[in-house]
């Protein structure tokens, strides 16, 4: 394995390793939990995961970045609040806003870090029922024109894992209306709103579509036997989407 994650245990070798040759960074903050999972998903999608350490300042020339889930700094102050100030985040913010439009995906805590960084609007507060919740969740892909959703059909329903404590997405009405109008609601909860999120929003994108954040965990639905209901692999599309985007010359 070329990438040296601070977590032991080797990742599954990729099927037909790194077709596209794309290198996708996975950032680890103190308290990050799902970095190995995100790296595994990248590998299963056919790209090479590159471990990025929060305190470093080099993006190591990666083609895209994933901010994985977890409880960075314990989420004690606010979810993602402290992680947002990591040196690596400054680099990511710059690269995401640059002309190159680095694709950035924030999952759960990563989504929270993206809102704290103002790369995405709104914020997350505690679930309306105040409890941590872990369940299999159906989402509707509302927009397949982002860097991370192109492999889905708009309107497609997917089942992936949801698990969080602070997952209630909120923003003011003006922001919400703008998100809807600009097609920036990327994912919506279907059937049941598990946390009180405004307008059933599960994930959003920035204007350019290179930055996407979502609360549920696609990286936990990439391998049959270990995902929703021990069968689902609907999350893999997120990771193959970004490869298509990269190959398609967005970068």
């Amino acid at each position: 394995m070329s990438s040296e994650f601070p977590l032991i245990g080797d990742f599954s070798p990729a099927p037909g390793a790194a077709l596209s040759g794309a290198r996708i960074g996975v950032v680890t903050f103190p308290g990050t939990l799902d970095d190995r999972d995100a790296a595994r998903a990248v590998r299963l999608a056919g790209a090479e995961p590159v471990a990025l350490w929060h305190a470093d300042e080099s993006l190591q020339d990666v083609d895209a970045v994933i901010l994985p889930g977890g409880f960075s700094y314990g989420d004690y102050l606010r979810a993602g609040a402290i992680a947002r100030f990591a040196p690596m985040m400054s680099k990511i913010i710059d690269a995401a806003n640059s002309d190159a439009k680095l694709p950035v995906l924030g999952i759960c805590n990563g989504f929270q870090i993206l809102t704290e960084s103002h790369l995405l609007p709104g914020s997350m507060i505690k679930n309306d029922h105040l409890k941590f919740i872990c369940r299999d969740q159906v989402l509707r892909v509302e927009n397949n024109a982002t860097a991370w959703t192109s492999q889905y059909a708009t309107g497609q329903e997917i089942s992936i894992v949801l698990k969080n404590q602070d997952g209630q997405y909120i923003a003011d009405e003006k922001t919400l209306d703008a998100l809807e109008a600009e097609g920036r609601v990327a994912f919506r909860y279907v059937g049941w709103n598990p946390n009180g999120s405004r307008r059933d929003i599960a994930g959003i994108s920035n204007e350019a579509g290179n930055v996407v954040g979502l609360m549920p965990h696609p990286e936990h639905a990439v391998e049959a036997g270990y995902g929703p209901d021990h069968t689902g692999t609907d999350g893999l599309g997120i990771f193959t989407s970004v490869l298509t985007t990269l190959v398609g010359g967005t970068k």
């Binding site: 601070p6 977590l7 032991i8 245990g9 080797d10 990742f11 599954s12 070798p13 103190p30 308290g31 939990l33 799902d34 190995r36 999972d37 595994r40 305190a55 977890g70 409880f71 700094y73 314990g74 989420d75 004690y76 409890k131 941590f132 919740i133 872990c134 369940r135 894992v161 698990k163 404590q165 965990h217 990286e219 936990h220 990439v222 391998e223 036997g225 270990y226 995902g227 209901d229 021990h230």
Partner: protein
Amino acid sequence: MTAEAHKFNIDTVEHAATTPDTELPWAELGLKQNEFEEIVKLLGRRPTAAELAMYSVMWSEHCSYKSSKNHLRQFGEKVTEEMKKDMLVGIGENAGVTNLGDGWAVTFKIESHNSPSFVEPYQGAATGIGGIVRDIISMGARPVAVMDPLRFGAIDHPDTARVMHGAVAGIGGYGNSLGLPNIGGEMVFDSVYQGNPLVNALAVGVMRHEDIRLANASGKGNKVVLFGARTGGDGIGGASVLASESFDDSKPSKRPAVQVGDPFAEKVLIECCLELFKGSLVEGIQDLGAAGISCATSELASNGDGGMQVELTSVLLRDPTLTPGEILMSESQERMMAVVSPENVAAFEAVMEKWAVEYSWLGEVTDTGRLIITWNGETIVDVDPRTVAHEGPVYDRPYARPEWQDALQADTFRASEAGAGLPATGGELKAAVLELMASPNMCDKSWITNQYDRYVGGNTALSAPDDAGVIRVDEETGLGVALSTDANGRYSFLDPYTGAQLALAEAYRNVATAGAVPMAVSDCLNFGSPEDPDVMWQLAESIRGLSDACMELGVPVTGGNVSLYNQTGSTPIHPSPVVAVLGKLDDVARRTPSGWRNDADGQAIYLLGTTRDELDGSEFANIRGHLGGLPPKLDLAAEKTLGAILINASRDGMIDAAHDLSEGGLAAALSEMALRYGVGARVALDDLCERDGVDAFTALFSESQGRALVAVPRSEEVRFNDMATARQYPVVRLGVVDTETSALEVQGLFHLDLGELREAHEATLPKYF
């Protein structure tokens, strides 16, 4: 923190030698007169305040196992060579280690955090998870999953919600933040646990053989380091008598009544330790749990080849007013102690800096055979570490079969008032199934399990509500482990010897049902006061029963924990030996789930085993408010055969689903298998009733052991039948999976709609909590 900040009269060894008559608060510290006299004899003088602190915590029941040690020996004695062959590290270390093959090893252990969880359920349960996880790290392993066997008071008692909400949120809050999937546990409501809930926690970890670490301090000149959280006054409440170590003007000190966990600190500690192991930067390592630095220094030193010298003012403090004795006793969470060779010091420090973990060098390994602790250079502890850590008092507590045991066993359910007018018609039986599945102990547990992350790590192949939790260890080969924890306090109350064996049998069966080969056992023995001869008998009988059964099933006990004094006033809890069994799967892809799926239409449903009239102690009798008689009979040879059948059937692809029968019997197993994926079935009980000579009620609700339900694809029926017959194991075809009806159809008796069943099953916990 500088020494100048401390303004105590330090009680040095020198001072102690010249002031033999100083009154010491040994009784307040929980020592008995004979124990104090033994300490004086060992030292040849009175102990210093710091020494007294160390001996008092290390010789406590919790740390020294003084009441149970004489009995626990059986776990080490009743083992065959065959049982030892995969045991890489046995009882005595922080946790046992079992060989999984391919260079992989697994370590697991279960512990209690009962009384802290009653006082402050959230933090008590959270720190329970934290403590057991550190045990696993200290073996050199990466923790990979946790489990949480829980027992609370009556579901409708006003205090139960407080404990339930807090404990579950605490287990979730801590475990979820560590990135450890929760793969199973237990939930039992019984008024015997009202003032004394049981919060047990299990952690499992995996490692390569070469990464196994032990808690010992060897090699003269190696450095001793304490790292992680700072030391505060946690867990030394009773020790505030040491606030002024000159024992004169004791001013009241403010010490925390409960410990607060910091899961973030622990997560960082895990990663930091794994990086240390990877770089081979530590020679020995020990977690800090009960008895804190007293335990860590004395155990490391006595397991090593020499002695140890440490300077206590070097300990980083959260509370600068702590006295030396309090520092030694402090149970602050999220700390570890390690032994590092001088050439690795710089590399060790680099790892600490990377993870922003605080550390301080306390001293070094010596060749004196003594544990010497200084305070500003003055010796305040000078002991043989073995006398602290391993040679504490051992008691042969008197025990006797309680006088009431005979009357209890004679009071059978059938003969009792509660046992009159049992359901018999189809309608009555259907209502009884609904009542059973809605009852507090049998209802759906997702109110709890939905608060736990079961997916993190991406290796969870089975988790609640399946019979066992299954975790993949090796992504390339699919090698994995299965785990289940079980106990039945009612069975143990009726007959503690058999009760402990039944707990083992159920956990063993659960693991085999998932398709795994049972390999090792860990246990948490939750009992009342050992000073009560009735309770002591329950404990002795349970250990004798469990060790006998382990021997017969060929699965060694590799570690565990004893929790005594679980009682409210003079009323002890039911004897509750919680048994965890770990099994191995060569390829977790072959695991057997506990329910049939949508694609299983027409698959045959078989029941393995014999059904007898065994309702005493059952969940059904419990619902009717009865507890008496004898628990179900146990045939360990039969359990072994059943296990072999289930494992082979899974390995050879003969079954698609399997679920063992335990609490609630066939009624519960059928309901759970159908509800698992919402797929119905058509069954008939006639053949079963005729063969075993029981009526439909008994067939549905008896808790006879050695039974499991399996779903067999049509193409495999012949092979499966042949296998069971070849092993002379009773098997009967009950019916078929039916994906059309969405109901449980028991021919000639009732038609139970799955929607109605699910509603009853799922409503209970949300109603109360």
